[in-house]
């Protein structure tokens, strides 16, 4: 439904769509280590560089730890730097991730969401990004290749905004999105590059007249204030995300809200789910609607920062909510469930809410299973424990 005629609709995998976005963004530096199912992103982008389609300096490091170190340092030097990873790769980056955000460097990284070892498993779940959700990175989840493509542009603008200056990761479900082919609307190169523009760093390592020290030691007297500023930047990101989304709408004609509310307005029962399963859930909602049930879908896109107030507002009239998490938070409530439950705490009335875990290690989830979740909500089958979908007991 684009208002812009300068676009083409072509069949692409999610990985191809992300690489295409990166080509249009024109980062100065890309460093990424191959890992299934992220690999095609770095392969395709490397081919772009090899064919002279981008002027980006592509580095092929010996590990994800070096990949994130390279893009972090390149960003400190003033370059626009991007990476991509998944699962164990993201886990190997963990030491550096809070340094990237703590140094306030706008690195953007695509994550082809994949289960964490052990047992080793190459398929989709969200345990990789959930494990790093408290490290100061903005996190945006995508439902499909189109969203992954669009989110890359949002992420660059949001990260580089002077009131934000925080790194971002854009999640796309491993294999399901990264390798699945969809029709993706790709917008004009110039239009998209102009949307992100050139990075304009306020400080760089190349200022020899006023040399700066980046990454000093801060002890008991300053560390706390620095971290407080990071939290303020996250709060700013919440506001600026919507502003940048409105700008992007002018090109694409689409909306970029914090979350998608699908048939939620008059719904009595809703499921909350992120990523590709939201697509299946929409079909389940449609079928149940035809059967006369007032059901809807709540699909968070921006997960960090989490828009608590807006979430509460969107869900306040429901009679029951099921939250589907594609990750455990071992020994605690599941991540998305925790945040939504927290958001609802300020309501006067208590909405019944049920936690579901699904799809770990790429376990398929089917429409009938989602419909079954709705029926449990409608029938008032709530427990304090999380329930598992598609698990062999």
């Amino acid at each position: 439904m684009s208002v812009n005629i300068k676009s083409k609709k072509i069949p692409l995998t999610g990985a191809e769509a992300v690489a295409e976005a990166m080509r249009q963004i024109k980062p100065d530096v890309v460093a990424a280590y191959p890992i299934t199912p992220q690999t095609p992103i770095v392969e395709i982008f490397s081919k772009y560089a090899a064919d002279g389609l981008v002027e980006t300096e592509v580095v092929t490091p010996e590990s994800e730890h070096s990949a994130i170190s390279i893009v972090t340092a390149a960003s400190a030097a003033g370059a626009r730097a991007m990476s991509a990873s998944a699962s164990q790769g993201l886990a190997l980056m963990v030491e550096v991730l809070p340094a990237t955000s703590g140094l306030r460097l706008p690195v953007v990284m695509a994550i082809a969401n994949r289960a964490l070892s052990a047992p080793i498993n190459i398929h989709c779940d969200h345990s990789d990004m959930m494990a790093v959700r408290d490290l100061g990175w903005i996190q945006i989840f995508s439902e499909n290749a189109q969203e992954a493509y669009d989110n890359m542009f949002l992420a660059v603008r949001l990260s580089e905004h002077p009131d934000v200056l925080l790194p971002s990761m854009v999640g796309l479900d491993g294999f399901i999105i990264s390798h699945g082919v969809e029709i993706v609307e790709i917008y004009d190169d110039e239009l998209m590059h102009n949307f992100v523009g050139e990075r304009k760093p306020n400080l760089t390592l190349f200022d020899f007249e006023n040399p700066i020290t980046i990454g000093p030691l801060q002890l008991t007297d300053f560390y706390f204030e620095t971290k407080r500023q990071e939290q303020e930047a996250m709060k700013n990101a919440l506001k600026i995300y919507l502003e940048i989304g409105k700008e992007l709408s002018k090109i694409t004609g689409k909306d970029y809200p914090y979350f998608e509310s699908y048939k939620l307005e008059d719904a009595e029962y809703a499921i909350a789910v992120m990523g590709s399963t939201a697509g299946t859930a929409k079909d389940a909602v449609d079928e149940l609607r035809e059967e006369g049930y007032k059901v809807g879908l709540f699909k968070p896109k921006l997960f960090r920062p989490f828009p608590y107030d807006d979430v509460r507002e969107a869900l306040k009239n429901l009679k029951g909510i099921g939250v589907l998490d594609r990750a455990y938070s071992f020994g605690a409530y599941a991540p998305l469930y925790t945040d939504i439950r927290n958001a609802l705490y300020d309501l006067d009335k208590r909405i019944p809410i049920q936690s579901y875990i699904y799809g770990l290690g790429g376990r398929d989830i089917f429409k009938h299973q989602i419909k079954n979740v709705f029926m449990e909500l409608i029938e008032g089958k709530y427990t304090k424990e999380e329930k598992c979908i598609g698990l062999r007991e």
């Binding site: 100065d28 530096v29 460093a31 002027e55 980006t56 300096e57 580095v59 092929t60 490091p61 010996e62 590990s63 730890h65 070096s66 170190s69 390279i70 893009v71 972090t72 340092a73 390149a74 960003s75 400190a76 030097a77 003033g78 370059a79 730097a81 030491e95 550096v96 340094a99 140094l103 390592l205 190349f206 200022d207 020899f208 040399p211 700066i212 020290t213 980046i214 990454g215 000093p216 030691l217 801060q218 002890l219 300053f222």
Partner: protein
């Protein structure tokens, strides 16, 4: 001006100004600032320094103060070499786009912990990718910033807090890692070993490194007054003894050709180096006499091997 003597170097530093200045909080008797001032003044171009976590980072950048008069970046302990790779790559990208005009030198600095051990993978990757940068290891043979724990650079027979000498222990039982050989295995154009007492040796090697394109590596020994256990006024004396005993030979490998820069007419016995240091105190007992003997034997063998390599590369056309 051509720098021939330490006096010339002092004049150069006075004229050009220092890239590392006063105000840091190093221990009295620490050699790091001597290394930095010497090595960094050998660069005719502006310098960007990337620093691993360690003594240097901790003492020179206690916020809101900094002793760095040149752009400086610290990310983590592990990644001085990969962060320097990132800066160097950004430099190439921004130069290509015309954002940066001037020529620069990029220097990564880490202690032996950040270089021999936790950072060796990042170092190896950066060398293999052929980034144009100089890596300097200031080697004080252990994790000194955190109170003298054992590292891969800690010498045989030294007592450290994690491998202490005791009733049934001589301290470290393994020989130290030969990092220069490992680095040379990447076939980079310039690898050298130097020692903090020898200012001109450090300076000349840094000059050569800065004039060479591609990855370069300097391994500089730096006695640690606090943890090697000697009084502050002995740093340079102990440093010199390390070379005079052949414990720490000065040599360089240029495009695979090895040159030993200093050959003592008569090498001093290793005891002279050991006896001034608390970390070797336990070796001076009759029951540990064999440790010193073993050490002496290995040092002589290693130095002999170094001379053979020099001969082989200079005279037989063999390349390291």
């Amino acid at each position: 001006m051509e720098i021939k003597t330490v006096r010339d170097l002092a004049e150069l530093q006075t004229k050009e100004g220092l890239r590392f200045v006063a105000g840091h909080r190093m221990c009295a008797g620490c050699g790091i600032s001597t290394i930095l001032r010497t090595v960094l003044s050998a660069s005719k171009k502006p310098v960007i320094v990337v620093n691993a976590t360690g003594c240097l980072e901790v003492v020179s950048t206690i916020y809101p103060y900094t002793a760095w008069n040149t752009p400086w970046l610290h990310v983590t302990f592990v990644n001085a070499a990969s962060s320097a790779s990132g800066v160097e790559t950004a430099y190439r990208a921004l130069k290509k786009r015309g954002v940066i005009k001037e020529e620069v030198n990029i220097v990564a600095i880490g202690g032996d912990g950040g270089t021999y051990d936790i950072g060796i993978q990042a170092l190896s990757g950066a060398l293999e990718r052929w980034h144009n940068f100089l890596y300097i290891c200031y080697n004080n043979e252990g994790y000194m910033n955190t109170g003298h724990q054992r590292s891969g650079a800690t010498p045989f027979g030294a007592s450290t807090t994690t491998q202490p000498a005791g009733k049934i222990s001589i301290g470290k039982v393994q020989w130290r890692k030969d990092l220069v050989k490992i680095v040379a295995g990447h076939n980079i154009p310039y690898v050298a070993q130097s020692n903090v007492y020898n200012t001109m040796d450090m300076f000349k090697k840094a000059q050569k490194a800065f004039e060479t394109l591609g990855p370069k590596f300097l391994n500089i020994l730096m006695p640690c007054t606090t943890n090697w256990g000697f009084s502050e006024n002995l740093t340079m004396r102990i440093s010199r003894l390390a070379t005079e005993t052949n414990y720490w030979p000065l040599f360089e490998i240029e495009n695979g050709v090895l040159t030993v820069n200093y050959k003592p007419k008569e090498r001093k016995p290793i005891e002279e180096f050991l006896k001034l240091q608390g970390r070797f105190k336990h070796l001076f007992t009759p029951e540990n006499r064999h440790v010193i003997e073993e050490m002496q034997k290995r040092i002589d063998e290693d130095f002999d091997n170094l001379l053979k390599l020099e001969k082989a590369t200079h005279e037989l056309g063999i390349r390291i």
